[in-house]
């Protein structure tokens, strides 16, 4: 590049005259312009910012932020009912778990065998559909970690098995047709619901009629339709769709039994019923038409508890089997429901006809004419804590321990407590009752039972430990004295326990 200095004369070259340079203000346009208008005719660009916006009269001057737009996550929301179905899904098998060789099944023989105490017995495969139908399995019970569903044969189970045998009339004839009424309590995780499941399984094995209320809360939470029964005093309410669901459950689970029994009583309210129809046909009437579901259930109940046929219907009469009634979450029935009467007063759960029917079975002397078992379990985790239930249960326990009602040790409700008189009255014993109400409290497993249970985990490949006396003893103590729900947590937690114990 040429310097502006002349090297020969070392004088500065004259600068180019200014007049020859283009004016610096106007840009040089080297190519054809897109706009034909000169740039300097254009409007000056507006200033950004809100200095020009006028604040309105009495407008708040606090900071205004732009609302964030919710990011579209893409895809559609789950379909109606999909999330609930996922929540309520019950998985009964885990193909990754090892199959246990020589695993025994629950059967009329094994369920009373005290040599098998502490072993885990598989539930018979054909029965699983029936158990599903009565909603015996609950979503969070951990069935999904084993190859096939099975339950421990613990002391309470064997005792219950013997009860089933007695009531069915095997062995002692005097016990046949007995009614046993039990309220099952116990700590959280002590196996109350699984105890009911075992009862249902035994009921199916013994060909009993199994009627269950898997969740007592559903009846009182205000989620199903209700209607007043006109003319009842005190006013009672039916729950048609809940009754319809009960009939569906009952028929699905007891189809074989109900199909083999014929109608033996007269039901003037159900005109569509023929004398030759089976109890299955009877129950099916209430499936689709919730309006008649309650009368249909009442008719089914009279049929199941019938001891002799009505006149003219003797031809096909078969003796009715014993009945198992299992209710889970009893405490929900001991308080006011979420329903309201027409006067906007809360309806007590005992005023719902469905609930009243099942609770009155506890009260009456021989509520099941052909014998049977009433098992009403409380729940420790889903407990509305109704006023008066705990004192009523304490009284039951005291009575079982031989404390008379006049004794000063007999539990009394605390002064000024508003214990529900209806609850206290319901669980009050009748004088010289034929079949008194019992309280059964489930505790922990014994160490031997706990060992059998933990071995089941080990043999399923879930627990990598050497199961010996010391190890079981440690876990038994850790689980609060063999509370089975806690034992299960210890058994399925592979990592930390394994490293700690080494």
């Amino acid at each position: 590049m040429a310097s502006s200095w002349c090297w020969n004369c070392l004088s500065r070259l004259r600068p180019t005259p200014r007049a020859l340079l283009p004016p610096s203000a106007t840009p040089r346009i080297s190519s054809a312009p897109f706009h034909s208008t000169a740039v300097h005719y254009a409007q000056p660009a507006k200033k950004k910012g809100n200095s020009l916006t006028v604040v309105k009269h009495r407008q708040s001057t606090s900071l205004r932020r732009k609302k964030k737009k919710v990011a579209d996550r893409g895809g559609r929301p789950p379909a109606v009912g999909e999330r609930k179905a996922l929540r309520k899904r019950i998985v009964l098998s885990n193909p990754n778990a090892l199959e246990i060789e020589g695993m025994l099944e629950l059967s009329p023989a094994t369920m009373v065998d005290s040599r098998l105490r502490g072993t885990v017995l598989g539930l018979p495969v054909p029965m699983i559909d029936q158990l599903r139908a009565v909603q015996a399995f609950k979503p969070k019970q951990g069935w999904s970690i084993f190859r096939r569903p099975g339950t421990v044969l613990r002391r309470d189970t064997i005792e219950m098995g013997r009860l089933f045998e007695q009531i069915s009339g095997e062995g002692d004839d005097a016990q046949k047709g007995k009614v046993v009424k039990k309220i099952i309590t116990g700590m959280k995780g002590s196996g109350k619901t699984v105890h009911l499941l075992q009862a249902m399984a035994m009921g199916f094995l013994k060909k009993w009629a199994v009627i269950t209320v898997p969740d007592a809360r559903e009846l009182v939470s205000g989620d199903t339709a209700y209607a007043a029964i006109e003319g009842s005093n005190p006013l009672q309410y039916v729950q048609p769709s809940a009754t319809s669901a009960l009939l569906t459950r009952t028929v699905d689970a007891n189809r074989e039994l109900l199909a083999s029994l014929k109608v033996s009583q007269k039901h003037p309210t159900l005109k569509m019923l023929k004398p030759s129809s089976t109890l299955e046909d009877l129950a099916k009437l209430g499936f689709n038409d919730p309006a008649v579901s309650w009368p249909v259930f009442q008719a089914l109940w009279t049929e199941l508890t019938a001891t002799a046929p009505a006149a003219g219907l003797e031809k096909d009469f078969k003796p009715r089997p014993p009945v198992l009634v299992a209710v889970d979450g009893l405490a929900h029935w001991m308080t006011e429901s979420a329903y309201r009467s027409a006067e906007f007063k809360p309806i007590h759960a005992h005023d719902l006809a469905f609930v009243h029917h099942f609770l009155s079975l506890l009260k009456e002397g021989d509520s099941l004419k052909n014998g049977g078992l009433l098992l009403y379990a409380t729940s420790a985790s889903n407990n509305p804590n109704p006023k008066g239930l705990s004192i009523a249960l304490d009284r039951l326990a005291a009575r079982q321990a031989g404390i008379s009602a006049s004794s000063p040790e007999y539990p009394q409700p605390p002064a000024y407590s508003d214990a529900d008189p209806r609850v206290l009255d319901l669980l009050q014993p009748a004088e010289k009752a034929v079949s008194p109400l019992e309280l059964q409290t489930l505790g922990g497993l014994t160490r031997d039972e706990a060992r059998g249970f933990m071995e089941y985990f080990a043999r399923s490949g879930l627990l990598r430990e050497i199961i010996n006396e010391q190890w079981v003893s440690e876990k038994w103590s850790l689980s609060g004295g063999g509370i089975i729900g806690e034992l299960e947590k210890l058994g399925r937690r592979v990592g930390p326990t394994a490293s700690l114990s080494k």
Binding site: R58, Q59, S60, S62, V80, G222, D223, T224, A225, Y226, A227, A228, Y237, A338, Y339, R340, S341, A342, F344
Partner: protein
Amino acid sequence: MKFRHQTTCGKTFGLTEDFLPEFNEKQQVTAPNDCQDTSQPTHFKMVFILGVNFPERNLLKKSLQTFFGIGGNSSARLMSRFNIHPTCRVGELANKQVLDLTAVLSEMKIENDLRREVLNDIKRMKETGTYRGRRHALGLPVRGQRTRTQIKTPVKLNRMERRL
């Protein structure tokens, strides 16, 4: 309320144009034949309660509460009066229950009747020159709240031409 204004095809309540201009714009009376909302897919069944169509999957309690003047308490009372459970969907109602509800709702002072009453009350207070009337007119809180901060709602609502 948004949904109701989109699909409403019911009657208006005979308000004059200058009295409540805004509702009249929203609740134009249309010919009965135009009532079908063609933007909805046909598989949506609708239930007609007091001149308003509700999709049947909606909760009845929420649907009742879309009426001006019906809140949580009145809707719960209404439903228990006809033995309708709290989580009932609109589609689960029997025909008779729909008719009963409509009959009771039509006797209640709700929607524009109630709006008119409230506006008349405010107007009366303004005309008699009470303190509350003045506060309404000035766009200031009426019930003794502080005015240093947090008066967005009265600023928004309390005008000379009050709207609801």
